[in-house]
Symmetry: C2
């Protein structure tokens, strides 16, 4: 059988990783796929560099549209990134009847509905295993491996940069700013790290997983997004003393009222496997009604781990491209005509409707009655307390007055209720600094 | 579209789990599969009990062959187990043109080649996600998700009974026999636990994974199998002091000489995620050349976790059964005609050719020169030492003489070489009891 011809748009880190792995493991991949898979055309603005990577025998152009226009090309890999030209090219490739493989989480989280609808209408596949958690086959696990289950929740460490920073902060007791600089020096964080440290990248991935888990459209605009920039070394230390680690989690959860979709730092019990995922590694925990808890762990980024996912998509397409489109795995796990229906019964909830538990740190005057006042306000709001950690006083106030940290863990409560209680506590004259609030997830 | 009609052979724990999950999540599964999937016929020797489980509207018979003979049935689920009647029924179902789903690891590890050849010849699928690690979609991950990779090794906790026993031995400092009785009382171990505690069940699963990973036929007869019955609480304690946990691992590894395929207790560094998998849980670590290390964790047994895998297979078949057989995922990941070829270049190695590192415990007389003698023998054999733990002497010998435990961790060495060195050490008059030898795996 003639090899599948693949065109590659953008040969940066992941693109060259894909080219190299496909060539290195050519024989073994063909033994699996039953058919050769070859990148025969590459588009990149830097034609000279691209030629140096691919060598002889591969056509290199600087115009992505020349790849899309080539009738010999069966599959187009989009590795340009971003919402701009990438979106136009993906839609043009679909219109030209090409199957598309992409690692572009931002594009799919924001414009997925439009792209998947275009692909369905044209009868082509858009595959995106590489868009979430790098080489971990989490999309395949959710969409196919766990297909028997009513998924209850997903919680993942799905951004390696922030997990690296949090691991370093804990290991070395350093503050965020210091570790970020080190991460940038080591190449774990980009020069402009905003998308990572503010939680946007994790929210793109959580958005894609929420759609696949619950059968709703991708709705990035409804996601709650909070990054790690405000975390202090003290909170990491206190959490540790209480038996927790702080991780940036992407969470999506089915409740009676709708779907929670949120990214924020979370306390996770140290004894959970996912709490022990360190450095730039990724892990995703999925809770299904039949299977119970499963966890998937691996490298979430990098040239070859991401290439592993891109190539798995190529092989899937090589297998399914002759199949009747209605028998292929649906883009978002569920048949497309059922997605909008589900949105009515499963709306994405505003953050104030989310129910979770909380870690609170209050900087208070070291006076009699402070604890009683604070716990009294919580009790009045119907928020029950799980644990209290009262630090020894340290003398930092003026004129010999002392201050201390008061740490409270709560049981589950509505975020809206918690926000009101925090506002009331903040108004107490004995609360001397802005209250730190970090959500806590038991994940069991 | 007409629902897929499924016939179930054997409605015990997993069978009723499958029936219940399929019915409970019927709507959601249909929204994914694009088509209904219904168990319409059940065969079980206990017809009355089967009828009580499935209720009205499902035909119950006591003759499995009546299910196979029913032209309305598209897929047969075999949940009888064992090599006997199950083998005959699976082959008959294939001959009748039915697709088969099975959880029967013993059958596939021993007779897989014959069964897959029959299925390929008849153009039907045999799906077996449930045969390894219960609800964890590890077969799918290996066969599809990691298809870009040259797999280097797999190491898994793939038997829940033994992992539960080892966890309890460590937690409570108890010996094997005591914990086994408790496990039987709690239902974590069967009345006849031989297949579990002797490592046979884990070896069946490791055999299946070795074939899928390396593109060779299933070769259970070549597997090295050692259980946990000889492990003492002392070894678990010493391992802990040295920074290791003892786990029963199923390991398969590609080396220059061939494939290692072995099940035995192993020391694993405590800091590895898999070392922290406790109780009856399963986890599999896969190392691929592109993706690096990935890990898959979840429940490896039980009615609904196993049902989750059985139903995922049903959905896969519902999707692929109209596809051209040559485009389906091959049973053992690689195209069947390439498996025997690979066997020549990748033979399964005898245990004496395996290279790993070792934990040795020697009961020795507490005399000057014992350590020098023992380490001298190791040095002469070319075995280098990683760590030594010398216990304080305890007075248990006769006539006031004292004995002590000498624990040695070695670096990598050939098992054959190690066997000879152990025989020499055993012959020393100062070595007072049979030497305990446990293999050590760094898994990094």
């Amino acid at each position: 059988m003639k090899p599948i011809q693949v065109g590659l748009l953008g040969i940066g880190t992941v693109g060259s990783g894909t080219f190299n792995v496909l060539r290195r493991n050519q024989q073994e991949i063909e033994r699996r796929a039953g058919r050769g898979i070859e990148i025969t055309m590459v588009a990149d603005l830097d034609v000279a560099r691209a030629k140096a990577i691919v060598g002889e025998g591969v056509q290199v152009v600087n115009d992505a549209r020349a790849v899309i226009a080539n009738p010999e090309i069966d599959i187009v890999i989009e590795l340009i990134g971003g919402y701009g030209i990438a979106k136009a090219l993906v839609l043009e490739a679909i219109a030209a009847g090409k199957h598309v493989v992409t690692a572009n989480k931002a594009l799919l989280a924001v414009h997925g509905s439009e792209i998947f609808a275009a692909a369905s209408a044209r009868g082509v596949m858009v595959a995106f295993e590489a868009s979430v958690a790098g080489g971990i086959p989490i999309i395949k696990a959710l969409r196919e491996g766990l297909t028997a289950n009513r998924i209850q929740w997903i919680a993942g460490i799905i951004n390696g940069t922030t997990n690296f920073i949090l691991s370093e902060m804990r290991d070395k007791g350093l503050d965020f700013d210091v570790v970020l600089k080190e991460a940038q020096r080591l190449g774990y964080a980009e020069a402009d790290p905003t998308f990572d440290i503010e939680g946007v990248d994790a929210a793109h991935k959580a958005t894609i997983m929420s759609a696949i888990a619950f059968g709703i459209p991708v709705q990035f605009d409804k996601a709650y997004v909070e990054g790690i920039t405000k975390l202090g070394a003290a909170d990491i230390r206190y959490a540790e003393q209480l038996g927790y680690r702080i991780k940036l989690l992407g969470i999506t959860k089915r409740t009676d009222k709708g779907v929670e979709l949120r990214v924020h730092p979370s306390l996770v019990p140290t004894k959970r496997l996912i709490a022990n995922v360190e450095g730039a590694m990724n892990a995703v925990v999925v809770q299904g009604d039949a299977v119970g808890t499963t966890l998937y762990y691996g490298k979430g980024a990098g040239a070859e781990p991401t290439a592993s996912a891109v190539i798995a998509d190529l092989v899937d397409i090589a297998r399914l491209h002759t199949a009747d489109p209605e028998h292929r795995v649906p883009h978002l796990a569920f048949q497309p005509h059922t997605l909008n229906q589900a949105m009515d019964s499963l709306p994405v909830l505003p953050m104030s409707e989310v129910v979770t538990s909380y870690y609170l740190r209050l900087r208070v005057a070291d006076e009699a009655g402070v604890l009683a006042k604070v716990t009294g306000l919580l009790a009045a709001a119907g928020i029950s307390i799980d644990a209290v950690l009262q630090r020894e006083a340290d003398e930092v106030g003026g004129e010999g007055s002392t201050q201390t940290d008061l740490i409270i863990l709560t049981h589950d409560t509505r975020e809206g209720t918690m926000n009101e209680a925090i506002a009331q506590m903040q108004a107490l004259p004995t609360v001397l600094a802005p209250i730190t609030r970090i959500r806590k997830e038991e994940l069991n």
